[in-house]
């Protein structure tokens, strides 16, 4: 049986709904610890089937609409990408690649909807120094809490996918929220709802994996023998996954990293450096205290003063 894609196809109820995604559902909170949540929400995922995407950008429009952002109007530089990069006002972006398939000689138009991957092991959250500015819910959504964000840009350094952008207006970081506010009331993300070809589906991660395997089977039967699911284990898997026709070489899709992981430099910075730092500063201070206790102050004696006076008398 075809698994249900969970993407809301009908209109939501108009009566007020209470959020089912609250602080009690946090499993991680930047620069702080959270008590283990009382309940475990079903992990969710967005599945982006690149092979079904027609590049219409309805997802971008829906994202702008729902998040009420205002991406700047840019100029046409001869490519389809618009805007030309993710911005603080554009959380998702269709990236277009014209790829010459060396095996078939065909020109393939690869279109990948870029945006936050909602890593199970989020580098942004690890890097963030501001308590509660980045949170992760037990359903897998990684969200930025703007009132706690200090705009330092550490999340940018932590992210293996180059996703967060700092606003020049309010100096806080922005990225795809996986429409956490919609998911909280039982709706799917705006992009998934707007997608005319159902290239974007949303549901439980398990269902999305099943949906992906049926799609991969279909693609394989059509000659895409390397079709596969992009759910990179280096970051613990992601809650945004791709079906790629060429899963053996994700880089061809506008530089999607083959084996993303939180950079070892970031791990060193956020791990070892803190211990070494505190140890070094503590040792320096302790050495001072100890030295002071053992030798006492180094005082100028009366004799020193007399020697100086004699010297001056002699030379003056």
């Amino acid at each position: 049986m075809e698994p249900s894609p969970h993407t809301a196809t009908s209109n939501p109820p108009v009566s007020a709904a209470t959020s089912n995604l609250t602080e009690r559902d946090l499993v991680r909170r930047s620069a702080s610890t959270v008590p283990p949540p009382a309940r475990q929400l079903e992990p969710v995922a967005k599945l982006i089937d690149v092979s079904k995407c027609i590049g219409c950008k309805a997802c971008q429009s829906a994202c702008v609409e729902w998040n009420d952002t205002n991406p700047a109007v840019e100029t046409n530089t001869g490519i389809y990408e618009n805007p030309h990069d993710l911005t603080p006002d554009m959380f998702t972006l269709m990236r277009f690649t014209e790829w010459d398939n060396p095996q078939t000689g065909n020109l393939e138009w690869l279109i990948r909807k870029d945006g936050c991957m909602h890593c199970e092991d989020p580098g942004c959250l690890k890097a963030c120094p501001a308590p509660g500015a980045i949170v992760q819910y037990s359903n897998g959504i990684v969200d930025f809490i703007h009132e706690n964000c200090i705009g330092c840009g550490y999340c940018i350094k932590g992210c293996p996918f180059n996703i967060p952008r700092i606003s020049k207006v309010d100096h806080t970081a922005y990225k795809c929220t996986l429409c956490s506010d919609r998911v909280a009331v039982g709706q799917g993300p705006a992009c998934a709802k707007a997608c005319p070809t159902h290239a974007i589906s949303f549901g439980t991660k398990e269902d999305m994996k099943k949906l992906a395997s049926s799609r991969i089977e279909d693609l394989k039967s059509r000659g895409y023998e390397n079709a596969g699911l992009y759910d990179p284990p280096g970051v613990g898997g992601t809650h945004v996954m791709y079906v790629l026709h060429h899963n053996d070489q994700p880089e061809i899709y506008s530089g999607l990293p083959k084996d993303p992981k939180v950079s070892p430099v970031v791990n060193a910075w956020k791990g070892m450096t803190k211990y070494i730092g505190f140890a070094a500063m503590g040792l320096a201070a302790a050495a001072g205290v100890l030295h002071s206790a053992l030798t006492g102050p180094n005082r100028v004696t009366r004799e020193d003063e007399e020697k100086a006076e004699d010297l001056v008398k002699e030379k003056a």
Partner: protein, 231 residues
Amino acid sequence: MATTSIEKEDAIHPGKPVVVDRYNLGARVNHWITAISLILLALSGLAFFHPSLFFLTGLFGGGQEARAFHPWIGVLLFFSFAGLFIRFWRANLPERSDREWLAHANDVIAGNEEKLPEAGRYNPIQKFNFWAMSLLIIALIVTGLAIWDQYFYEWTTIPQKRVAVLLHSLAAVALICIWIVHVYAVIWARGTLRAMTRGSVTGGWAWRHHRRWLKELAERHRFKGPAAPAE
């Protein structure tokens, strides 16, 4: 070695006790601007270094404010320290006798200064602090610009920013350690702090800690009137 380690503001005021001018007003103002900016930088920087210290951002009005002020204070420190560097680099050049002084490390730590070769205006530990501070401040300003995303985001790639932020935190830790040694040494060697407040030290202090400097001053007849009246 005969290299002179005296600065033009240095002068002996004969009297009882002898008083020796060490830092003029410009040098002292320059030093304290540097010191205050360094403390503010350490407080705001440590707030970003570890979550347990994030509360320190409260001193600056909040996280956003601390994040915004920190790099500007860094620029102030850089230029202020550059002023100190221009003033004191010559007196901090290493000398042959420094090696012998350092060979007596035990006596330095034990405070047996009579066993040490006579030091010039700065002893080798002070010189080490000076050059280490200089190099670390250069490292901090360079890596700091690389992670000052508000104005210089385009200048570096993300992998470069990662390395920059790691080096920035390591350099900051090293600098704080050196700062601790510096502050401790001033407290330990009593009578030192007044060099940076009143600008002068007693002859006994100079005899005890920087005898060659005092001798050179006397040799060159760098005398100035009677001692400043006692306060």
